[in-house]
C-alpha cells in the first residue's frame, strides 16, 4: 500500500533520513518509533507528499508521488487522512464544519447527507453532540478525536497519525489507542502511527519500525521488537540509557 524506496531527505545539507526502505501492507497498522528529532514525522510527511524526498521514491498503491504535481497529488490525498500532532483543527470553524470540510469541498453530497456522515464519525470517536462547539472550547484529547473524525470522514484507505497520544494523560492516551484500533477494525484502513509511547505502539501495531538518527534500524512484529537484541532498540523500548560511570567516593563511616 505504501512503499518507500531508497528515500533520503536533507534540510539545508543536514541529513534527516538516510536510505529508508519501508513497505506498509494493506490493512496493517505500522507504528514508527524513535527518539525526538530522529526523523519520524518527516517520514510521515513524505508519505502524504507534504515534503519531497531529496532522492528516492515514495509509492502510494501504484503511484510514485515524490515528483507528482500538486493537482495529481490531491487525487492521491483524497484517499488518505492525517491526524496531526497538535490536531490542526481549523479554529475559525465549528467541530461540525471541521469534520464536514473534505465532504463539502470534494463531494456533491446534500447538506443532510453531510450532516449524517458528520454525526456518524463523531459517534465513532464518542463525541456526538459536539458539532456546534468551537475547537478552542475542547480539551487536547477531544481535539485529537475530532481530528481523527475529520481524517476518516472521507473514508480513506490510509490514515497517518503523528504522535496521536502526545501531551495526553494516560487514560486519554489509552482512549485514543482504542479509537485507532477501532478505526482500523471498522473501516479496514491501513494505518501508520508515529509515536514514542511504547505502550501505545505495542497495543495498536501489527508491526513496529524504529528510526534512529535518520536510519531505519529495525522493523518487526511486536514480539520481535520486544525481543530485539539491538542495544539501541532495547534502550529505547525500556527507556534506559547507558549507565553513567560514577566516580567512586569513599566515605569513612568509622
Amino acid at each position: 500500500m505504501i512503499h518507500l524506496k531508497n528515500v533520503n531527505k536533507e534540510f539545508n545539507g543536514r541529513i534527516i533520513l538516510h536510505n529508508i526502505n519501508l513497505n506498509v501492507e494493506k490493512g496493517e497498522t505500522l507504528a514508527i518509533i524513535g527518539a525526538s528529532g530522529s526523523g519520524k514525522s518527516t517520514l510521515l510527511r513524505l508519505m502524504i507528499g507534504l515534503l519531497q524526498p531529496t532522492s528516492g521514491e515514495v509509492w502510494i498503491k501504484d503511484t510514485e508521488i515524490s515528483q507528482l504535481p500538486e493537482i495529481d497529488l490531491d487525487k492521491i490525498r483524497l484517499n488518505m487522512g492525517m491526524v496531526f500532532q497538535y490536531s490542526a483543527l481549523f479554529d475559525s470553524m465549528t467541530v461540525g464544519d471541521n469534520v464536514a470540510f473534505g465532504l463539502k469541498e470534494h463531494t456533491k453530497f446534500t447538506s443532510e447527507k453531510i450532516q449524517q456522515v458528520v454525526q456518524e464519525k463523531l459517534k465513532l470517536v464518542e463525541l456526538e453532540g459536539f458539532e456546534a462547539m468551537m475547537p478552542n472550547e475542547l480539551s487536547g484529547g477531544m481535539k485529537k478525536r475530532i481530528s481523527l473524525a475529520r481524517a476518516i470522514a472521507f473514508e480513506p484507505e490510509i490514515v497517518l497519525y503523528d504522535e496521536p497520544s502526545s501531551g495526553l494523560d494516560p487514560i486519554m492516551a489509552a482512549k485514543i489507542d482504542e479509537l485507532i484500533v477501532n478505526t482500523q477494525q471498522v473501516l479496514g484502513v491501513t494505518s501508520v502511527v508515529v509515536t514514542h509511547d511504547m505502550n501505545s505502539a505495542f497495543h495498536i501495531a501489527d508491526r513496529i519500525a524504529m528510526v534512529y538518527d535518520g536510519e531505519l534500524i529495525a522493523i518487526d512484529d511486536v514480539d520481535g521488537i520486544k525481543n530485539s537484541q539491538d542495544l539501541r532498540v532495547r534502550e529505547f523500548i525500556h527507556g534506559t540509557i547507558k549507565p553513567i560511570k560514577r566516580r567512586q567516593t569513599h566515605v569513612d563511616r568509622s
Binding site: 510527511r45 502524504i48 507528499g49 507534504l50 500538486e70 490531491d74 487525487k75 490525498r77 483524497l78 488518505m80 487522512g81 492525517m82 496531526f84 500532532q85 497538535y86 490542526a88 483543527l89 481549523f90 479554529d91 470540510f101 473534505g102 469541498e105 470534494h106 475529520r150 472521507f154
Partner: protein, 257 residues
Amino acid sequence: MLMHYLEKVGSRVINVMEGFGAVIILIGQIFYQLKHVPRGKHVLRQMASLGVDTLPIVALTMLFTGMVITLQTANEFIRYGAQSTIGGIVAIGVARELGPVLTGVVAAGRVGAAITAEISTMKVTEQIDALKVMATNPIGYLVVPRVIACMLMLPLLVICGDVIGTFGGWIISTYYANISSAMYIQSITTFTVVHDITGGLIKSVFFGAAIAVIGCYYGLNAPNGAEGVGKATTQSVVGAIIVIFISNCFMSLILYR
C-alpha cells in the same frame, strides 16, 4: 574587511530578489487558481471582516485629514482672494491622492496585519498542512478570496473616505473660515472632474491587491513560533506601506499627466 562588507551587501540583495521572485510566483499561483470559480461566500465573509470593520478608522482618518488641509489652506487662500477655490482644492486632493493613499495605509495596518496574523497562525499550527492533506489548495482557499475581497472593498472604502474627507473640509471652511456652503459646494462642482475620482479608485484597486498579496505572502512564509507571527505581521505592514507610497507616485504620473 571589504570582502566581508561586499558579502553582506550581496547576501542582502539576493534575499530581496528572492522575496520579489517569491511574490511573483505567488501572483502567478493566484492567477492559476482564478480558473476555478472563486468561493463567493468566502469572498463576502472576507469583505465583511476586512472591509466593513475598517470603515470607522478610515472615516476618522479622512475626516480629520480633510479638516486639517482646509485649516492649513483656508487663511492663505482667503488672503489672496481665492476662497472660491478651496472646495475644489480639497476635493481634488482628497480624491486623487489623500483618499486612496491614506485609506491604503490604514488598510495595510488593519487588513494586511489581520491577513498575515491569521495565515501565519494557521501555518504554525499546521492548519495549512491540514488543508493540503485534505486536497485543498491553500492559495485557492485562503489567498484568492482575500485578494478579491480587498480589491473590491478598498475602492468602496475610498469612496466613503473621499466623501467624509470633503465633508471635513466643509466643516472647517464653514465654521472656521466663514466660507458659505454654497461657495464650497460650487467650487467642488466647478473644479472636480470624474477622472479625479476614477483615477483614485483605480489606484485603490491596485493598493487592495498589493495589501492582500503581501499580507498572504508574509503569512504563508512566516517563521515558526509566536515570534515568527509577530515578525511576519510587522514585515507585511511595512512592505505594503512602502509599495503603496512608491506605486502611488508612478500611478499618479501615469493617470494624471
